[in-house]
Structures are given as C-alpha cells and as structure tokens.
C-alpha cells in the first residue's frame, strides 16, 4: 500500500475547542492551542492531567468528542487514520519494538509496507541506525531482547523517523531510563533535534527535561492548559501558583552551600568498572549486557577516566583497547561542597563525576540528579 504524503513540513497545528470525556470525567476540556511549525513543544503536568490525551488526539489514537485538530489547514478527522499516522513519527516510553523482528525489520517495517524496494529500505535503515549512533553491522540483524534499554530507545527513535515525517510525537520517551542514561540520551536528542529541524510534541513529567529540551512549555492541569510559553516566561511570569510551584527552581538551590557531595551522590556499583585492557568490541557487548551507557575505566585499580557507548561505536577497530578511547573524568572528594562540584562540572561541560574516597570510587555525581534530590 502506498500512502500519499500529507505534508512536507508543518506550518501549524491548531487545536480548537477540543473536549474528551471518559464517563463524567474530563480528560481534556475545551482546549485551544497552537503548535508552531519547527518548534519543540513540551506538554507537562501531573499524571491524569490530560497531557497524553492531547498528544494522542493529534494522531487520532484517541478521538476527541468535540472540537477539531487542524494540521496545515487539514482537519485530521477528515483524513484516513492510517495515512495520518504514517505521516508522523511516534515514540513511546515502553518503546514497543516487535520482539519477533530484527532491528532492521523493526525500523524498515512501514517503508516496506509502503512498497519501497528492498535496497531502498535497507539504505534507509542503515542511514537511521547511523543517525542514532548504532553501527549497522552490529545491530541490523539483532533482536530487540539483545539490546539494552538505551539502545532500544534509540531504535525506537530511528523507527519513528523511518518515513522522514515532518512531525514527531514523543510520549515520555526517556521516562523509564535510569538518570545517567536519561541525561545522555537527552543530550544526544538535542543534537538530533538540531539536525532534523522538525516539529516535535513531547510529553514529560520531568521539569528538568522540559527546560532542557523545550522551545515552549505547556503546563497542563486538570484537563486544561494553564500556561504556554518559553521557559523563562514560565519562571518570571507564572500564571498561577501551580505553575510557579512546578517551575520554581530557586528553591532547589537554597541549601546548596551546606551540603557535601556525599549527601547527594548515587551509590557506586562494581558493574560500572571496566578494565583498560579490554578491547572495545568486547566492551560494547559487555556494556549491553550490563545495560550501561557509561562505564569507568580502571588500570590496576587506578582510575583512567570514562567511556560512553557512543564513543565506542564511533571508533571501533578490532585491536583497540579501552585505554585508547578513554576520556578524562572529573573526580571529587566526598566532603567537597555540592556547589563547588556543580560549578566545576559546568565549567568543563560535563554532567557526570566520580566521587573518590582515597583512590577508591564511592559514588557517582550526576548534575541533574543533584537538582532533583534537592527538591
């Protein structure tokens, strides 16, 4: 089946007077909103506020009771839902890669159904795997269960981009990942966002994520949008008390001076330790097995630095050892102040440091985690 392309770029998505009720409860009530072409709009709010419902009404996974969603002047209710969905990418928290298909088949599924030639599908999949930093030769024929959580989420993103859609819908895509991994994927996603320049609607409940990724943020509460605007507007001119509570970052820094690094670090685990003499190919598999995106490299108990999965994949030859690709890492003492540690991290552009207690690793400091723990 070949479906026609509905739009090459998004000029605007208008949501007009949309209401959705479940029983007597409003999931979304008389919602009016405009999503601009090319922006990344964040929908954030407490669970049950209706943010996911709004997202799913855009691709008609949920049908509104009244009102309309208009993309580039086209009313979505007048379009065939299958055709509509093939014109947008969709990424969800639990990813949902099909377990009986290889990574290549998962990503190439819709292009194949669209009747693309075999070679064209393969080329597209290779391009996308490369785009999300997964080397084709290693991953094309693997099954989803052989991948770590972070790798699966990358494949999920590649699948969403398969048809080169001008609009991406993302439903808490990083929600299920551990904090270190989440931070890293967000960083990568930011780069991807720059490159692809698409319109993205992104649901999250993590305000840090919202501030980091969003061009504009829509605060959703009790089936209504309370305020929409760029991050600074929400911080400086919160419309309601609820908005100021959600975005109030000031409070988080209040006790910073009195706290030590050891109060806020995440515990260290031996699974993060890799030997510098291990070769990089083995390390990729080992990190996948341990579900890691970052590892710390030691040489006879001496810290050399850290490696990330992405680094390993970009410079992979048979004879390379981890010692050759390791990158430097900040370390702190348990009794260093948090404020000092954070400012050092910020200076070096890092988000992660190892806490060493007399040459022995005792914890990991992740800048975002620190903020969250302070709330």
């Amino acid at each position: 089946m070949h479906t026609e392309r509905l739009f090459d770029r998004i000029d605007s998505i208008q949501i007009k007077g949309v209401t959705k009720k479940y029983g007597s409860r409003f999931a979304v009530k008389e919602l009016d909103m405009e999503i601009h072409g090319g922006e990344l709009l964040i929908l954030i709010g407490p669970s049950g506020s209706g943010k996911t419902t709004i997202l799913r009404m855009i691709n008609r996974m949920i049908e509104q009771d009244s009102g309309s969603v208009i993309i580039n002047g086209l009313d979505t209710r007048k379009l065939d839902p299958v055709r509509l969905r093939r014109n947008m990418g969709y990424v969800i928290q639990n990813i949902g890669l099909f377990p009986h298909m290889t990574i290549g088949e998962n990503i190439g599924l819709v292009p194949k159904l669209e009747g693309w030639e075999k070679n064209r599908v393969k080329e597209r999949v290779q391009y996308l795997l490369d785009f999300v930093s997964l080397p084709t030769d290693l991953f094309f024929n693997r099954y989803p269960r052989q991948l770590s959580g972070g790798q699966q989420q990358r494949v999920g993103l590649a699948r969403a981009l398969a048809m080169d859609p001008p609009l991406l819908l993302m439903d808490e895509p990083f929600g299920a990942l551990d904090p270190i991994l989440r931070k890293q994927l967000q960083e990568e996603f930011l780069k991807i966002k720059m490159e692809i320049g698409r319109t993205i609607v992104f649901v999250t409940h993590d305000i840090e994520e919202a501030f980091r990724l969003g061009d504009r943020i829509a605060i959703v509460d009790q089936a209504k949008i309370v305020q929409v605007g760029p991050p600074e507007e929400l911080i400086f001119n919160p419309a309601t008390k609820m908005v100021s509570e959600i975005v109030d970052t000031e409070r988080k820094f209040k006790h910073m001076d009195t706290l030590n690094v050891k109060d806020l670090m995440s515990p260290f685990d031996s699974k993060y330790v890799f030997d510098s003499k291990m070769d990089t190919c083995d390390a990729v598999n080992e990190m996948t097995g341990r579900d890691l995106e970052t590892a710390f490299i030691f040489d006879n108990g001496r810290l050399l630095g850290r490696i990330t999965m992405v680094d390993l994949m970009k410079c992979r030859t048979k004879t390379q050892k981890l010692a050759d690709v390791v990158r430097p890492l900040k370390t702190f003492q348990p009794l260093d102040s948090v404020a000092f540690a954070l400012s050092e991290l910020k200076k070096s552009g890092e988000y992660l440091a190892l806490i060493m207690n007399e040459d022995r690793p005792s914890g990991i400091l992740v800048s975002d985690e620190v903020l969250l723990k302070l709330i």
Partner: protein, 214 residues
C-alpha cells in the same frame, strides 16, 4: 535375529506394507493440511468476531466428544467407502486444537504491540499479518502438533472402512488372526507416529526460539 528380520520382511511384502504406508501418509498429510488451514481460518475468524468464539468452540468441542469410530460410520453414507470418511473425520477432530490455539495465541498478544502497530500506521490487516500471527506462531504450532497425533490415530482406524493405509493391515491381521502382521503393522504405525511427532516437536521448538522468547 535373522529369523525375526526374515519374518518382518515376509509380513511386510505379503501385506504390501510399502504401498500401505504411502496410502497412510497420503491420507494423513491431506487431513493435517486441511485441518491446519481450516483451523487457522476459524481461529482468526472467531478472534475477529469474539462474540462467536464461545459458540464455535463449543460446537467443535461437541464434535470432539463423538467417538472416532462412530464419527467415521456416520460419515460413511455421505462420503461412501474409501479414504473420504477417514480424512473427513480426522479433519473434524483436528480442527479444534488448531482453532483453539490460534484463537488463544492471537488473544494473548500483548496489547502494547498492537497499540504500537496501530500508532505507527499499520492497518488492521497489516497488524494481523505482521504482528499478531507471527507472535502467535509457537501456540499455533502447538495446536498443529496435537492435530498431528489426532490425525495419525483416526487414519489408522480407516482400515475398518476400506480406506487403505496401515489400518487395513492391522484389520486383516485381526480378521485372520495373524499375530505377526498385527505386531509388525502395530509397531510400524506407532514408530511413524513417534517420528512425525518428534519432527513436529523440533519445528515447534524452533518457532519458540524464533518467535516465542521475549
């Protein structure tokens, strides 16, 4: 030892057992293919019209309770002597396990996968072929394996109604009280069933490895 072997060869030749085995396997394969095709179609049908599921499965259950010999005899006036009634009875028996397993397999596909399939733009038919059926294959194969054993049993009974096959050898042996013929044909039929079942078991295991492990 040589005497035993000689007896087996004599019995085998006298009863035309090579021909009988071919007949046997022919009836068996036709019955198995038919019951698989019909069973899978019924399974998909009752899955897509869930309200009919209970009724259809109950009817198949009732068919299952009719003793196999009685079923063959009932079918005799309609399909005449020969392979017809035997094949039809095998099929009627074997539809249930295939249909039920297909239905259970399709129902058991995790909703997150059907949700994602819909969300990335698969139509209902595409979701069925690309996601639901492949993910149900291990269970469907399990149903076909049960059907295989059923067919083997019923086809052997066919000897009673002149259907040919190894049942005929057994039947003659009983009529003429030839112990050797009964023994050789009985053991050979049993061995065939075991070989075919283990083969099906291997296929089922392969499908589990390919489609069932997540």
């Amino acid at each position: 030892m040589t005497i035993v072997l000689q007896t087996v060869i004599d019995v085998w030749d006298k009863n035309l057992m090579t021909l009988r085995t071919i007949e046997h396997l022919q009836m068996f394969s036709i019955a198995l293919v038919l019951s698989t095709v019909i069973g899978v179609i019924i399974g998909i049908f009752i899955y897509s019209r869930q309200r009919t599921a209970n009724t259809v499965l109950n009817i198949l259950n009732i068919v299952e309770t009719i003793p196999d010999l009685a079923l063959i005899v009932i079918l005799l006036p309609i399909l005449r002597l020969g392979a017809g009634p035997t094949i039809a009875a095998s099929v009627l028996y074997s539809i249930l396990p295939v249909a039920r397993n297909t239905y259970t397999g399709l129902k058991g596909v995790d909703e997150q996968y059907t949700y994602v399939a819909r969300a990335i733009g698969l139509s209902q038919v595409e979701t069925l072929w690309k996601v639901k059926i492949p993910m149900s294959l291990p269970l469907i194969a399990g149903g076909i394996r049960i059907a295989l054993v059923f067919c083997m049993g019923v086809v052997t009974l066919g000897g009673l109604v002149a259907a040919g096959g190894l049942g005929t050898v057994l039947q003659n042996g009983i009529q003429l009280y030839e112990k050797d013929a009964i023994l050789v044909a009985g053991l050979w039929t049993g061995l065939l069933a075991v070989i075919l079942d283990s083969f099906a078991g291997i296929v089922e295991k392969k499908l589990h490895e390919r489609y069932g492990k997540w």
